[in-house]
Amino acid sequence: MRVREWMDREAAPRSTFAFLDDGAKKDVRRALLKAVAIPGYQVPYGSREMPLARGWGTGGIQITLSLLKPDDIVKVIDQGCDGSVNAVNIKKFYERTAGVEITTDTALATLVQTRHRIPEEPLTDRQILVLQVPYPEALREVEPSEAQTRRMHAEADYARMWLHLYEDIVRFGEIRISYRYPCTVNGRHVMDPSPIPRWDVPKLHMADALFLFGAGRERRIYAIPPHTRVEPLEFEDHRFRVEDFSGKSCARCGATDTFLDEILMPDGSQTHYCSDSGHCDKRRAGWKPC
């Protein structure tokens, strides 16, 4: 109960709206403005202490807290699911510190915070998607030194990343990256789209909504403004492909056009459910099995 008491005290009228003090919000907003001005560029910022450990979504939380207005409607998902422990706790945190309305319906939300998925329903120009990012550096896979990766970004020196993909194709006939697929943003910066599956990568391209990426532990913020080119790295004779779910459908709602999670049943057989639970629930309400 001690955490609860602490939360209650923090949420008492003397604390500021949406937990963060004004200085912190200003810092995050300035980083956001710069990030939007240079799509795909990682802007350093002073990541604040949060009432949960770094690496548990603190980057996304700080962005959301800096953007929240009292009339916002917030949706929080964790790998597509509205009901996971982390998502529920973050929602409670927003409810308590900012008094905002919470929803599971993507269409109703003004701000969606997510970990590792982008909702199936297309986002509109009135919505902001905040993504939690564990590793903001797309080049980390090929270059361990931060000084080097910064130099590589500055000089648009991405041959090493391309070589990494080339080697995969030569050795395995396929690029092995299943999530965190590197993308070129606005024809300039190679960016880590956070651990979303390949399925979600095309949704970033020329989207109506604003995408904001926050890495609390690594202290970086970056963004994709609306209507920005986001191109996954691909070769002329080896195109980018998304996951193949042909022949499979969601066992709950029957969807064949969504990203499916594979579930192992107690008898060892496989079944599939939509990863986006809000979308699945919505479809299920109006879906009749034939």
Binding site: A154, L163, E167, V170, E236, D237, H238
Partner: protein, 291 residues
């Protein structure tokens, strides 16, 4: 023959530098380290001109600044002062801001941003280092090593890159069956040949060779040098050849510069330098050659 590359007053200093540096370092002083401030003048006021389809040799003992000079020419290391220009090359036309309108020579490449320098380097130069691990990624396949330069130059077709890589590896006598093996599995001579293939991948007019045959046994040395000579003829390359071995210089180069303690002490036709050395250090170098 037309000049292809010219450099003037190239200097590379490691350290703060002081008023006494210039008098207390250099070939006459017998050191390149300033006793007062401890600065090292790796390369001091070196000017050179490389002509089309010519091989220019740079000889000198270790520590004389030969390798530093090549690194500066390849933009691996920033020059402290001096300028570098390239003649108007077809390969560089696509890069904006390199040439002023109507000029036969590029702007000073040392004062350009690193992004442009890298593009100029990818389009116009290839380099072969003494140690293969400097020029190659030992964990990446040999074909991938060759492809890296192509990727850097904007190639985006796997098929075309593999075709180019296999063509070059064939030219440098690497069996195609080993194209997808990493160079760490190869012998020193083979690694050096993969490096040459990588250096040639972008079809550069200029090839920089830094002690390319040092550390290889004599028969392998001969094969590598023979191959370089053939490639130079066929691809009409201009080369800067750095070596401490006068035999290599004699075999490959028409003109030679002799360096000592960061400075050029003598330059001229290779035959002339070998048969009639003027500077005391060159005389020592020629006299100490094994017969």
């Amino acid at each position: 023959m037309e000049a292809l590359l010219r450099a003037h007053g190239i200097t590379r200093r490691y350290g703060p530098g002081c008023a006494l540096c210039l008098d207390s370092t250099g070939a006459d002083a017998g050191t390149n380290r300033c006793p007062t401030c401890g600065s090292v003048w790796a390369c001091r006021d070196v000017s050179l001109e490389l002509r089309a389809e010519e091989a220019l040799g740079i000889v000198g003992e270790s520590g004389s600044g030969k390798s530093t000079l090549v690194k500066l020419l390849h933009f691996d290391d920033p020059a402290t002062s001096g300028y570098l220009e390239l003649a108007r090359l077809r390969q560089l036309e696509g890069i904006g801001g390199i040439y002023a309108d109507g000029c036969d020579w590029s702007r000073d490449l040392f004062s350009m941003d690193r992004y442009r320098q890298r593009r100029v380097r990818d389009a116009s130069m290839g380099i072969v280092y003494q140690h293969p691990h400097l020029g190659l990624r030992m964990g990446v396949s040999s074909g991938g090593n060759v492809a890296e330069r192509l990727l850097s130059a904007g190639w985006r077709s796997i098929g075309a890159m593999r075709q180019r890589a296999s063509h070059l590896l064939e030219r440098t006598e690497i069996p195609l069956s080993r194209m997808d093996e990493p160079p760490r599995n190869f012998s020193g001579g083979m690694q050096q040949r993969v490096q040459i293939a990588k250096a040639l991948s972008g079809d550069p007019p200029i090839l920089l060779l830094d002690e390319v045959s040092t550390g290889l046994d004599l028969s392998v040395q001969a094969r590598v040098l023979d191959m370089i000579r053939t490639l130079r003829e066929e691809l009409r390359l201009s080369m800067v050849v750095v070596s401490h071995d006068l035999g290599v210089i004699h075999l490959l180069c028409q003109r030679t510069m002799v360096m000592k303690n960061g400075q050029v002490v003598e330059s001229g036709l290779t035959d002339q330098i070998l048969q009639d050395p003027q500077h005391g250090y060159t005389q020592l170098l020629v006299a100490s050659q094994l017969q």
